[in-house]
């Protein structure tokens, strides 16, 4: 019992909390691009954190349920409809067997998340259900969803505890300009003090080359390196801002390579990465430097407010 994919949308994949422990073998962690919207969808359906969801990019598609279910949709506003009637996002919604769910083009943001109470029956590959399409790994046969795919649910759930109170505020994503806070390093010393400061003075714009691997930015004046723009290859974190020799930054995202040989001037802080995951090409990006202490404090605050909501709802 589960869903039948009538139309998979443009790029829909299964993602869970990510593949942990395999970066040492060259396997990227994957997982959701927008960790906040992903966590909120599972929170709304009462699933444990990290339960697999569908991540839909730019357009959601059409899905037929052959079982009762409780779902939640978060992230980009794809104007979801159930049997032709609009349904709210950021809310736990009951779905009856035989219903058809349609998600259109993203009117705001880029990526929507669909969580199903109880989770989906997807095989584990290297301890994760996340899809890495570039390397044909995980999810459904290591690829994006296709017409005719079936996804079985692990449980039939027609209602969850405190369902009527399971509502969260829907964010509005800016389509003009976003501000991303950045912690300097690991190779901020690969740039002169002045170049480093300039990185924050001048903004950049998101190019069309933006996907799950990385988001390429374009600056009017390229960033200059102290050396030739190469380092001894080292590990790359989610949100690392790589600056290749051409001086045009790339923010490394969920499907990034595990290692790379370009200096990384800074790393976008975890709580601001969702803004980038939801920003469309053409959006202006501004950077602000913050301390590691503040970055971690902000992340901890977000985690604890989510925990608090969870303990109220799952009581």
């Amino acid at each position: 019992m589960g869903i039948q994919v009538i139309d998979p949308g443009i790029f829909t994949t299964v993602q869970d909390g990510g593949r942990t422990g395999y970066q040492q073998y060259g396997v990227t962690p994957s997982g959701p691009m927008d960790e906040r919207a992903f966590a909120q969808a599972n929170l709304l359906t009462g699933n444990p954190a990290g339960t697999e969801e569908l991540e839909m990019t730019f357009q959601g598609g059409r899905y037929c349920f052959d079982t009762d279910a409780v779902i939640a949709i978060t992230g980009a506003d794809m104007k979801p409809q159930l049997n032709g009637e609009p349904i709210p996002m950021y809310q736990a919604v009951s779905v009856e067997a035989g219903s058809e769910l349609v998600l259109g083009f993203a009117a705001n943001g880029c990526r929507a998340y669909l969580s199903v109470a109880g989770g989906m029956d997807i095989p584990l590959v290297m301890e994760s259900r996340s899809t890495l399409t570039g390397k044909h790994l995980g999810g459904i046969d290591g690829r994006k969803l296709e017409k005719g795919d079936r996804i079985e649910f692990t449980a039939t759930v027609s209602e969850v505890a405190n369902q009527e109170s399971r509502v969260l505020a829907q964010p509005e994503y800016s389509e003009k300009e976003i501000t991303l806070r950045v912690v300097a390093g690991p190779q901020d010393d690969g740039f002169s003090r002045e170049e480093f400061r300039k990185f924050f003075w001048y903004g950049a714009v998101i190019t069309n080359e933006a996907d799950r691997q990385g988001i390429r930015l374009k600056r009017e004046i390229p960033v200059k390196h102290v050396g030739d723009g190469n380092i001894i290859s080292d590990g790359i974190a989610f949100g690392s801002i790589q600056v290749p020799p051409n001086g045009q930054p790339i923010v490394m995202m969920a499907d990034r390579q595990t290692v790379g040989g370009y200096p990384k001037i800074g790393t976008v802080i975890t709580v601001d990465l969702p803004l980038l995951a939801q920003a469309k090409p053409g959006t202006q990006v501004r950077f602000i430097e913050v301390s590691i202490e503040l970055a971690q404090e902000l992340y901890l605050r977000e985690l604890s407010s989510r925990k608090e909501i969870e303990s109220q709802w799952n009581k």
Binding site: T20, Y25, G26, K135, S233
Partner: protein, 239 residues
Amino acid sequence: MEDIRILISGDKAVSVQMGSEISLEVNHRVLMLQAELEKNPIEGVTEMLPTYASLMVHYRPEVIRFRELSEEIMKRTQTMKEISGSKKRIVEVPICYGGEFGPDLEYCAELEHTTPEEIIRKHSQHDYYVYMLGFAPGHPYAARFEEPFSFKRRETARVMIPARSVVVQQNLSDLIPFDQPCGWNIIGQTPCEICDYSRKDPFLVHAGEWTRYIPVTPEEFRKIRKQVEAGKWKPRIIE
């Protein structure tokens, strides 16, 4: 010994730099620190990624913050030991050189002003150290320490080269697990899967191991390939 530096890689990871050169000694220290952190784990550390000269440590800031983590890591760098029983572990990898399998072999010989046979000899006579895996699942970054080639990358990269290609430049040689773009010269192909998700251990080689390349004929290549496809082939490992 050089100072160890802990570099901030955002709010959930640090890069512990054990040196600033690509050398066996520095890489060995990276693996020593990883072994120490496996033996005496720090609560909150979720995974580690050894590279040429640094160990990336991913952690959960809700369990341990940056300052405390750094202190704990520095303590481990004081207590880390030579990896016990760290004998040289060599994985033998059969390679069919030249022809359809290695379209650039003759070109490499021209670049070196020598014969294809001499290129094969230099490539297969010395063992390669696997500094790290990266770029793609199971992709080894490996180097030999004797008789480097003088040529570097090709002038223009190929848009796509086939999986299992063996590519070279200078003292480096990589095994390509998946079809990918590549700017290095292809001198051969291995019949083995470098990464096979269906195996219990999907990866042919691991960081800190050595590879030894065994020249095989096209007939032997096809024979091994059949065994690989039937799931019956295992690499010979020398310890």
